[in-house]
Symmetry: C2
Subunit: 267 residues, 2 copies
């Protein structure tokens, strides 16, 4: 499981404050904690107004890469901000995100051609998030064609099937799972990634729903997640799922995590 | 999810003691707790020497049916004990279990013909537990043919794919899951049931493994489990899985369980 740490996000109050005050120690603390907890990538999202975004995102990236060896996932809907910050990075960053939305796709494509950046691709376009797995796959196919035309290799692409809230649509989980299966079947070399908070939005005991979803999504073909690696329940669920799915040889990672006190053992 | 409560089992020390002392209050306490926690069936297993089994199993069945409305799952490898106790029951019991083992199958078949008992069928025969999903299915097919010849309807059959310990075989989970999928595909009307303790045997933080397994097994087609309905973590995982798999309309059961304080909310 490839973990993209989600905590350095300017839409969170404490992070917004740290960005406003350029509090490097706070940001670096979040970076180190997530790195120690097993994050391979660290998402950085400025969450500021567009006029301040380049400065803030650049500062975040500099601050994070000074503190950890983790690779950075540059999170912005704004291609200009991505283009401005990208050259400051020591290691090739992941770009979060593109979608079938024309402006966004065309703005980011030159960056993808120039750099060997992996990229997160949302299964939606200018008409919004499609209601069926077929329609999402239709968008994914069109975007993948564009990627291949532009020499973006399949394994640089992380597709997010966009799970929506189960509280508003009972079928949202089934829809996300079948979208994952279809993408995985048709594009076996692309990564499938998911943010996990939407699916449980509006339900109680959200961790239980997130655990069930990540377990089932991993079986369907998801291999990466934008998540909080410090969420012990969720982290434990990913390791347990890998054991049951036969992906953890001799249960080594699971046993190691247990000995390190990193598994939830409330029961 | 059909829950078969596992707690009244003479291989547990406290239950063995209660059976030896004919301590009805203790057994009825276990029965009521499991019934309140959502068990539809209550497994009763005497766990005594064969010469005492009929008496003990009969007493257990009488004691349990005097205390709850739950149906009883008569658990014995001994057809004679099953035949002796069956007529004492007010509601048609489930029989646990038959397998491809000749003696067991032939001993129980007359009971299945006479009664409308559901029956648990283990995917093994006189040669033991097969190592591949194909070989297990081969046994299941032969047994299902026999069931149909004897007018045992498909939906009276609960097949246990016999998950073995992941700690001794990394592929045990994948094997169990594909066996479940194959059975579910070929016999869509049979139930698929699993005991959950074997799969996590020998691993730390076993609940995590059981949670992951039950979640994935439900997606594969398992619809019932021999489990402890008082295990909050496991019970919560089944409800969360039903939500994510779109089987809990408007998340009603999940929300109800939350309001009743029955969901694990450690985080």
């Amino acid at each position: 499981m490839i973990i993209i740490g989600e905590k350095i996000n300017g839409s969170r109050k404490s992070v917004a404050k740290a960005i406003a005050e350029r509090d490097a120690a706070f940001i670096q603390g979040l970076a180190k904690k997530q790195a120690d907890a097993g994050a391979e990538w660290l998402d950085v999202h400025a969450g500021t107004t567009p006029d301040k975004e380049i400065d803030a995102l650049g500062w975040l990236a500099d601050t994070v890469q000074a503190a950890t060896e983790c690779k950075i996932c540059l999170d912005s809907p704004n291609p200009a901000a991505l283009a401005a910050v990208l050259p400051r990075l020591k290691q090739t960053p992941m770009i979060n995100s593109i979608s079938g939305e024309k402006k966004r796709l065309e703005g980011v494509m030159p960056l993808l051609r120039k750099n060997k950046s992996p990229v997160i691709m949302l299964a939606m376009d200018d008409a919004g998030i499609p209601k069926t797995a077929d329609d999402r796959l239709f968008i994914v196919r069109a975007m993948m064609m564009k990627m291949r035309e532009n020499d973006v290799e399949d394994d640089r692409v992380y597709i997010d099937p966009l799970a929506i809230a189960l509280a508003t649509d009972t079928n949202a989980g089934k829809l996300a799972l079948s979208t994952i299966k279809m993408i995985h079947y048709e594009f076996p070399d692309v990564h499938i990634v998911s943010g996990l908070s939407n699916v449980s939005y509006g339900l109680p005991a959200r961790t239980l729903i997130n655990q069930a979803f990540i377990t089932l999504a991993m079986e369907a073909g998801m291999d990466s997640a934008i998540m909080d690696p410090l969420d012990t329940a969720l982290f434990s669920a990913t390791l347990a799922a890998e054991v049951v799915l036969g992906k953890d040889r001799f249960c080594r990672s699971y046993n190691t995590a247990f000995r390190a006190g990193r598994l939830l053992t409330s029961k």
